[in-house]
Symmetry: C2
Subunit: 386 residues, 2 copies
């Protein structure tokens, strides 16, 4: 396998983008990545998107987006793993460059979620759960994560304030991210008093519904050098699944697919958790960030909430988590999220994160953890400055 | 890149499978492939599916199918390129084995299309076209291929009888395929007199709506030898896209993405069209098979219809096409089709095609061409007996 580096990143301002079409949003982020990389062509493009069919009535995204990007006849694929579709696109792009079949590959993600009416977005998202054994019976994602939160509180004593600490931190970080959907700060009191969605999760525990895209360019380390770019190497990639239905897992206070994906990524990278300087993780709900930081090994089981409360995951903490603002503040266009995590990891490793959220001690190794459904799939990537 | 071989194939009886669930259909084909290969584990699984969301309200297929296949924590991806999703799954599995990141990978395809009511299937399929510039204005696939047929007839003098010859041949071949949805023969008169769908295309020019799955196992040639399997090598893989909307192409009597994908596959395989002994091609409509055989180079532009009429694409012709019965008779569960083509190519190369449709002169090199939408994406693969 060849060594692979990320040489370009692109993202656009996320939000309720009524004035832009599905293809416009994609092309904007894709062109930004191409410009940043300075490449004169692509050999292939891999697009993460959860449900073009249900959100905008459009499948066949490879063809559509290659066409609108002006890349006639480009080999272009779409991949899907629910909310981990972006991370999956990055993994397949990594494998494609590593294999030698393609030299310059774009990994991109897109979702336009606000064009559906009524409960269309909730229905579309629920297709990431088990349709026959969960969704049919009324389960939706706030409800599933509420079950996990309740179990975690019962088993470990995780508190309301610990959940709120995650939201407060991520909105603080996101307030410095010019691309975030909700770049405002929130207080603990505001989170605690926000409207209940599925007990114990309140609206400020939940990531939003978002339109947005993100793109990155991967190539060989040799080509990256010729481009004169900082060499941000992809040193580890791990991918794992778990039972799609929550009730089929032996323990819902941990995320086994995340643990297994991380083990695979660590093995490939020849690193351990203590080598990781910071991470972007999948905080679709505040409880998710707490359980993910435990499942990755940053903190022991049951200690993730306390760590968040103590500031250990803040910008100046021991393990900064979600310096971008995370899904919580930056937004969560589900297919784009995994790629946007890579965008943030690259910014931090380049030392170019905007508006004061750049980590003070320049990091060398960063991680991205992207998750589908209630944890039924996970992608973990480790990047390092060469 | 490592040399890659197909060591296992699996398919189930296609049709309107009311009595089987989405996951049942998948697992049936997947287990058949695992049994055929004799492997004791998988490193990864890649699933082609066009629209789990619109057809059965289920995305996140990697997690779902790994779970129901009993492959806990398996790395499992879903890929989509409309009706070329199966071919795309095969390509990504090929790249994954070639890269060295995984040794044993399943490429599988699935679609359950008959569970939607009303015009749900037509709507779901239409999302493979351009939603904003085609579908919104009422275009569906029979209409789009009817435009291509009309243009081809006008430019080259292609006739009704030439279209019918494709249907008669494919149903004849399919009558010998125990897995086909419609394993009956049809006469030229029956095709000519069948109900009009979109002039000049009649119902017997169209492939059906189908539930079904197919799976194949790819591994390295070294492992294939250890398994004691016939070595069916993947020697060429080509992938290309084109404008998703038909009206944006300079010439709708040819399929440029097919030509470009074939050129890429020929280059990798170091072969030319005359080296190909037979092919499975994407006959979603009879006119598609005619144009595809021209675009691949089997026949000059405008001569595909005449070749079909003369029997050159029959079992004993110069270039046997769709020995399986093609999409026309075998059925077209869109995500599974590209993988089922590989199943047939492997059967022919092994000399095990059922019920008398095995080619008399044992073939050494076969091709599969799988296409999305009105030709907006194409995958071409070339396989050879080592």
């Amino acid at each position: 396998m060849r060594d692979v580096a990320v040489v370009g990143i692109g993202i656009n301002k996320w939000g309720e983008l009524w004035e832009k079409s599905f293809r416009d949003i994609y092309v904007e982020a894709a062109l930004a990545a191409i410009n940043d990389a300075g490449v004169d062509h692509l050999d292939s493009m891999i697009i993460g998107c959860m449900s073009g069919g249900l959100f905008v009535g459009q499948e066949h995204l490879g063809s559509l987006m290659a066409d609108y990007l002006g890349q006639k006849h480009l080999a272009a694929s779409r991949v899907e793993s629910a909310c981990a579709s972006g991370g999956l696109a990055f993994r397949h792009a990594f494998i494609e460059v590593a294999s030698g079949i393609s030299d310059i590959v774009m990994a991109a993600g897109i979702e336009k979620m606000t064009d559906v009416s009524g409960d269309g977005a909730t229905y579309a998202l629920a297709t990431a759960a088990d349709q026959e054994y969960e969704v049919f019976h009324g389960a939706t994602f706030p409800g599933l994560y509420a079950l996990m939160a309740t179990a975690h509180m019962h088993k470990y004593g995780t508190t309301r304030d610990m959940l709120s600490a995650v939201a407060v931190k991520n909105h603080f970080n996101g307030s410095m991210n010019p691309f975030a959907q909700y770049p405002f700060k929130v207080t603990k009191e505001e989170v605690n008093d926000s409207v209940m969605v599925a007990s114990p999760l309140r609206i400020l525990d939940c990531s939003p519904i978002t339109d947005g895209a993100a793109a990155v360019i991967l190539t060989t380390v040799d080509i990256a050098r010729k481009l004169g770019k900082p060499i941000i190497k992809v040193i580890g990639s791990g991918h794992a699944t778990d039972s799609i239905a929550l009730h089929q897992r032996p323990d819902i206070t941990t995320l086994k697919a995340t643990t297994v994906a991380a083990e695979k990524a660590f093995k490939m990278a020849n690193k351990k958790i203590a080598d990781i300087n910071f991470a972007e993780v999948h905080d679709c709900f505040t409880i998710a960030e707490i359980i993910v930081t435990e499942s990755l090994g940053f903190f022991p089981a049951g200690k993730g909430g306390e760590a968040a409360l103590k500031g250990e995951t803040g910008l100046e903490g021991k393990f900064p988590i979600n310096t971008s603002g995370g899904l919580k503040s930056k937004g969560h266009p589900v297919g784009a999220t995994g790629v946007a995590q890579i965008v943030e990891v690259v910014k931090q490793l380049r030392g170019t994160a905007e508006n004061g959220r750049q980590l003070k001690k320049q990091p060398k190794v960063g991680m991205a953890q992207n998750m589908g459904g209630s944890g039924g799939s996970t992608l973990v990537h480790i990047l390092e400055v060469a």
